[in-house]
Symmetry: C2
């Protein structure tokens, strides 16, 4: 689960736009394709990836701490000794040994699972896309935190599902807001297919669902006959080292769990997994056959060998330390530089901070001016399907060094101060029209 | 493009069946999921993968000829020197250098393309699935050869598209049959979204579209405003070494081309591509972001480095020789052992032979008896959406050694002779009811 860094190809974009208008194939597309447009984040990466810009926008993990040399040795051994298996087709279900190891990884969060119920995917995004594909007809409703992961919203939109956001506060998803949302959707005669939630170190909220809320959230969903899709790429990246109990560990029959090696090992391998009850798992394997035949065999074997030959838990501790240091750098810089009226979340793990700016400032409109001042972020609007989020932004501390983070926040604070000065001088910019139900974000609830 | 070798997990299957009947989630699935069942090939691999069985069923390439040691060296260098890029997220569009090299590969078949119009996918199956997803609403019609690739039929079914088969003869897709199919679908008021075709060394037909038919097929589609999806995984594996001109080279604006490194290099890396006109390519990149975020970076860089450091065209010649030897072994054994009344295609490249048995024999019903005699094949019915193919089977010569091929064909011939004896004794088994339009297969046309 992450938004990835698209290659910059700016000169093409205007060309692309022209082509879209002249799209000779427009009348032939499926309905689901008609409204497909590039995400805000995608367009942004083109500018934000210039070296002079401090990007607080991307979700790329920092791989500098990986033991590349010993990894290279293992991978070479794999290719020369086991190449005829590693370079050959495998099953859509995934390499059996890796599925066993995945169960050991999940045991750290209290999950007891059988390897047969694990389906390996070409990255966790593929699991998310497949779950949506299996469950959602056009018009079906998915409940999701407001804000929510941009890649999830992309998949939900791709299958024409509607998203209803549910408010969070500093303890995560609010049970009362969840009850209300279920009621309201019911009154509209629509069908809720699942609750999509990122309980730990939320992207983009930077918030964790309190332990004492977990059973309540699960009970509400169970009562309402709503499946829970638990997306948990950051769960092992908590800064105090002790993982939270997974929702899946508390209700195995009603939770589909999405896991990933992208943040705890290597994102470019694209190895993730879905843990699902047997009947759903069977549909997932069939869907995976249609989607990619099988996940890359080599990549699965690399992860498997890494887990069996390296101190992977020690490596996760190194990642935790590294991200904690960067989180600290960002917190300190925000305290020091941010103008009065700004508030932000205090993540205890993961990659992201969710920042709320004073009324009158539109983070989407401000972005070009921030980039001119050589800092980039993601406007909050990308994390909602209902137009909310224009007073929010996501800041990520995962990739830049602490020094760069500090400099980036300084530049951002300058941009914000100038923007607020403009607002004071010329009055508040009228808010955009906001269709759909409002979903307060963590800091405005 | 290939059906891959599922891991055998036979004892589970009856369990799975029971679970399906008790599927607690059944009422919650999307419409597209309701009818989803395992392909015939999938169930088959469980039995056919026992070592005592000669499998003429699978489509796995033979990788024994790959230079694993020098490959291991290159891969190790990649991880140790470029690991922070190779193990990191990339763009959904694909690694730029690889997209340039892909254009060089396609130039061998007369294609002139810009790297921007290439989208790298996690295997060609993913390209096929995405093209279907972009174009097909439920009920839309796809034209495809009869028989056609089982993985394509799977994706078409997954998006609830209807398949209308078009007859082939020994020169491939018949232009007249294509015209008729277009007419008939039009009369039914249905919409054809594209023609899906495998022009070279067809899977499963083993047949190649004659060069002098190519322009005509393209012209028919252009006149009828039907897009052509050209699936070409075997194009460079012709036994006389000279590739056929790709359909894409003859009509760049109306052909979407699917390519793959699975047969010319390594299937387990899952690296394929789509070459598409600009507007479609843009939709593909967006769809790929939703499907997997990006194809595995490491795998793309491995292919790229292989292409730049190894004599990949020499390696393809080695593959051609190897498969030609196996094709020859199969042809000789078929001549020697097959009972009178059987006919088969004579492939000039690729992996597959399409065999037609005498009237009265049902290849699907016979399969368990063949497996008892320690030989496996794929019944022809798996390659049609309309129930046809019960007098046909696909034999593959790509994976077993020539000796094993010979032995397998001998066992198959024995099984067939016994089956024909039964038919003579007890009379013809009544044919299954065949819904939908009939599509003669290569040998019965």
């Amino acid at each position: 689960m992450s938004d990835q860094g698209s290659q910059p190809d700016q000169p093409e974009q205007s060309l692309d736009k022209a082509a879209r208008n002249l799209d000779a194939y427009r009348a032939r597309y499926a309905e689901r394709t008609a409204g497909m447009t590039a995400s805000e984040i995608r367009a942004l990466f083109a500018v934000a990836s210039r070296p002079e810009v401090v990007s607080l926008a991307g979700g790329m993990p920092n791989l500098a701490a990986l033991p590349l040399d010993s990894l290279a040795t293992e991978v070479a051994r794999l290719v020369s000794e086991d190449g005829q298996v590693a370079l050959q087709y495998g099953s859509a279900h995934g390499v059996p040994e890796l599925r066993e190891q995945i169960c050991e990884v999940m045991a750290l969060e209290g999950i007891s699972a059988h390897p047969d119920d694990v389906v390996v995917t070409a990255g966790s995004q593929m699991g998310l896309d497949m779950v949506t594909r299996i469950f959602c007809d056009p018009g079906d409703v998915i409940l999701a935190e407001g804000p929510s992961y941009v890649g999830a919203l992309g998949s939900f939109g791709a299958y024409q599902a509607e998203v209803v956001h549910v408010a969070m506060d500093d303890d995560g998803l609010q049970p009362e807001a969840l009850r209300q949302a279920i009621d309201e959707v019911g009154k509209q005669g629509k069908r809720i297919k699942f609750l999509y939630t990122i309980p730990n170190f939320h992207n983009p909220g930077g918030i964790t669902l309190a332990v004492n809320r977990r059973a309540e959230i699960l009970e509400i969903c169970r009562q309402a006959d709503i499946l829970v899709v638990e997306d948990n790429p950051y769960g092992l990246l908590g800064f105090d080292g002790k993982p939270y109990p997974a929702l899946r560990s508390m209700d195995p029959d009603n939770v589909v769990y999405l896991g990933s090696f992208s943040k705890t090992f290597a994102s470019g391998l694209r190895v993730g997994w879905v843990l699902a009850p047997l009947a759903i798992r069977e549909k997932l394997v069939l869907t995976a056959e249609s989607a990619t035949l099988c996940p890359p065999t080599l990549n699965q074997m690399i992860v498997s060998r890494y887990l069996s030959t390296h101190d992977w838990q020690g490596q996760i501790k190194i990642f935790q330390e590294q991200y904690r240091e960067r989180r600290d750098a960002m917190m300190a810089a925000l305290e020091q530089y941010m103008p009065a009226g700004c508030t932000w979340t205090k993540p205890e793990g993961g990659f992201f901070v969710w920042l709320t700016v004073p009324e009158g400032v539109d983070t989407k409109a401000m972005l070009p001016r921030a980039v001119t001042q050589r800092v980039a972020y993601v406007s909050g609007t990308g994390f909602y399907r209902d137009g909310f989020g224009s007073r929010q932004m996501r800041l990520s501390y995962c990739y830049p060094t602490p020094e760069r983070i500090r400099e980036g926040v300084r530049r951002l604070a300058n941009t914000l101060s100038e923007e607020m000065e403009l607002v004071r001088t010329f009055g508040t910019v009228p808010p955009r029209s906001v269709p759909g139900p409002q979903a307060p974000s963590p800091d405005t609830a």
